[in-house]
Amino acid sequence: MPVLTSDLQRLFAPDDVASEPVMIRAIDVKKIYRSGTMETHALRGATLQIYRGEYLSIMGPSGSGKSTLFNMIGGLNKPTSGKVYIDQVDIAQLDADELAWLRCRKIGYIFQSYNLIQTMTCLENVTLPMSFAGTEAELARDKAVEILELVGLGHRVLHKPSELSGGQQQRVAIARALANSPEVILADEPTANLDQRTGEEMIELLADLRRRLGVTIISATHDLKMLKRSDRIMWIKDGRIERVAPPNEIDFSSDEFH
């Protein structure tokens, strides 16, 4: 039985917690993947807090549980044990439709390979999450044009993704992530498929958007430039959070960054 929307909205945006500094809280999160008799411990108990308006980078070698943690705090997956609170709401309590609601309104996703719908124009790609949110078509179109202008693609609204460069496609993806005015943006290696210069442009754009819109940005990345721009960097190894530190306390010339 889905929670009534008015309840959900009260849960998500209660007046007394609007100033609550913690946006996402994870407490002793464990995730075990089972296939047959094999058990894979992807996360072995992660506890973390992500603050409103923060720019957090998550680092870790492949297989470290980085993606699992990333999915968990993005509402894409539920933990096996432990609690994940997104804006004070325990995601384990939500059913599939409520999770979809959460993903739709609260979180914007940016993917490594852009994941634009190839058959749709930029405009349609950006309006898609708004139509999932029930926004009226004309309103959604106007807003999409506005956001595309914000990311510097006002002149390409009716182009198909295949007609755009990688950097432009990632800009469309960022515009799409912003469509429902989310409070959190999750970016999974957003610069990995881009060349140096375009990657830098993307980092600038994200930083600019954070400054102007006050969104919380969480990104999984190995890009040094991105790491240096973030407020905090989090290391994950073997399913545990090893270290959290601001970039000025880190020696970027050490071996693990090369």
Binding site: T5, R103, N115, I117, S131, F132, T135
Partner: protein, 338 residues
């Protein structure tokens, strides 16, 4: 403020758009699927139509033989009908057997058919001389008196026979002997239809078996094609789920896709099957007889049945692929590299 219900209702047009774009992009495979549905429904329609034509042709042939037999009986009593005149006493509009008999009499080159009865009893296409002077005038010089629609007034029959050339009274129905005349009962005592029924039910059972298999094959073909479409679209579905698409939206995409293919394929297939059956039986029995045997009402019924069956099968076929797609965890879909 918008709520979850609106979120469910609004994206219908979005779902339709996603479907149409999906069909366009994967046009080749869509056409293969469509052809599969068309062949399945064409088979269903052709089997049903063929049964209907066979039954119709059988009935038509039996009716024609019966008419021939009745004309034979009549001629045995009156002599060859050419150049003679026949009186008709009609109570109601002629039934099918009487109508056929009247047409056969007319085409046997009788000189006149004199009609006694209400104008509304005269069938279209028959041009008898209408008797104004009652039964007596109708019967004048007639070689025989034919009773239509259970004409029972003995007084009138006798009146007609007064000036008739031969006292022959013929009827397809029943009649008690009339004094001073020869009554010929043209109707046939119905045969025991048990054996024919057994044959028909065996035929029907075989048809149902073949149709079931054909529809199952069609269903599996559609299911398989939709499953392929799901795996091709793993990433797209995952992305949409990340953007907040409900499971019901994903499910709807697949139901719309299969319904569209089902409707198009079924319409095309039903037309194909109908034409195929008509041409096949037309070449065997002749197109005249085949088209006469194919009554428009029942054929339209079969058409609707086939199309409904095709669409139903398409929708049933979508249940598994649609659930498979909608149950996908968004994160799983994103990891897939297709």
């Amino acid at each position: 403020m918008s709520n979850i219900k609106e979120q469910i209702r609004l994206p219908f047009s979005v779902a339709l758009e996603v479907v149409l774009q999906g069909l366009r992009i994967r046009l080749g495979r869509s056409i293969v699927t469509l052809t599969g549905i068309m062949l399945g429904v064409a088979f269903l329609m052709s089997v049903l139509t063929a049964n209907s034509i066979r039954a119709g042709v059988g009935e038509e042939k039996a009716a024609r033989q019966d008419t021939e037999r009745m004309v034979g009986f009549l001629t045995a009593a009156t002599g060859p009908l050419r150049g003679r005149s026949v009186a008709v006493l009609a109570e109601t509009f002629p039934n099918d057997a009487e109508l056929r008999l009247l047409k056969a009499i007319e085409s046997a080159d009788v000189a006149t058919i004199r009609w006694f009865g209400d104008k509304s009893t005269i069938p279209e296409g028959l041009r008898p001389a209408v008797s104004a002077g009652g039964a007596a005038e109708a019967g004048a010089d007639a070689s025989g008196v034919l009773l239509i629609g259970g004409f029972t007034s003995v007084a009138k029959i006798q009146e007609a026979l007064v000036s008739a050339r031969q006292p022959v009274v013929a009827t397809v129905g029943k009649l008690a002997p009339v004094a001073g005349s020869r009554v010929i009962l043209l109707g046939r005592i119905p045969l025991d239809g048990g054996q024919a029924d057994a044959g028909a039910s065996r035929d029907r059972a075989r048809s149902i078996w073949i149709i079931t298999i054909a529809l199952l094959v069609t269903m599996i073909c559609i299911s398989n094609s939709l499953l392929m479409s799901v795996t091709e679209r793993f990433k797209e579905i995952g992305t949409m789920k990340c953007l907040g698409a409900l499971s019901s939206f994903i499910r709807r995409v697949y139901f719309i896709e299969s319904s569209l293919l089902g409707i198009l394929g079924s319409l095309g297939g039903a037309v194909m099957g109908l034409l195929f059956a008509v041409v096949m039986y037309g070449l065997t029995y002749g197109f005249g007889l085949t088209l006469v045997a194919l009554a428009p009402g029942p054929t339209a019924g079969l058409f609707i049945l086939s199309v409904t069956g095709g669409v139903a099968v398409s929708i049933l076929a979508a249940i598994y692929p649609a659930n498979f797609a909608s149950r996908m965890v968004p994160a799983t879909a994103l990891r897939t590299n297709i």
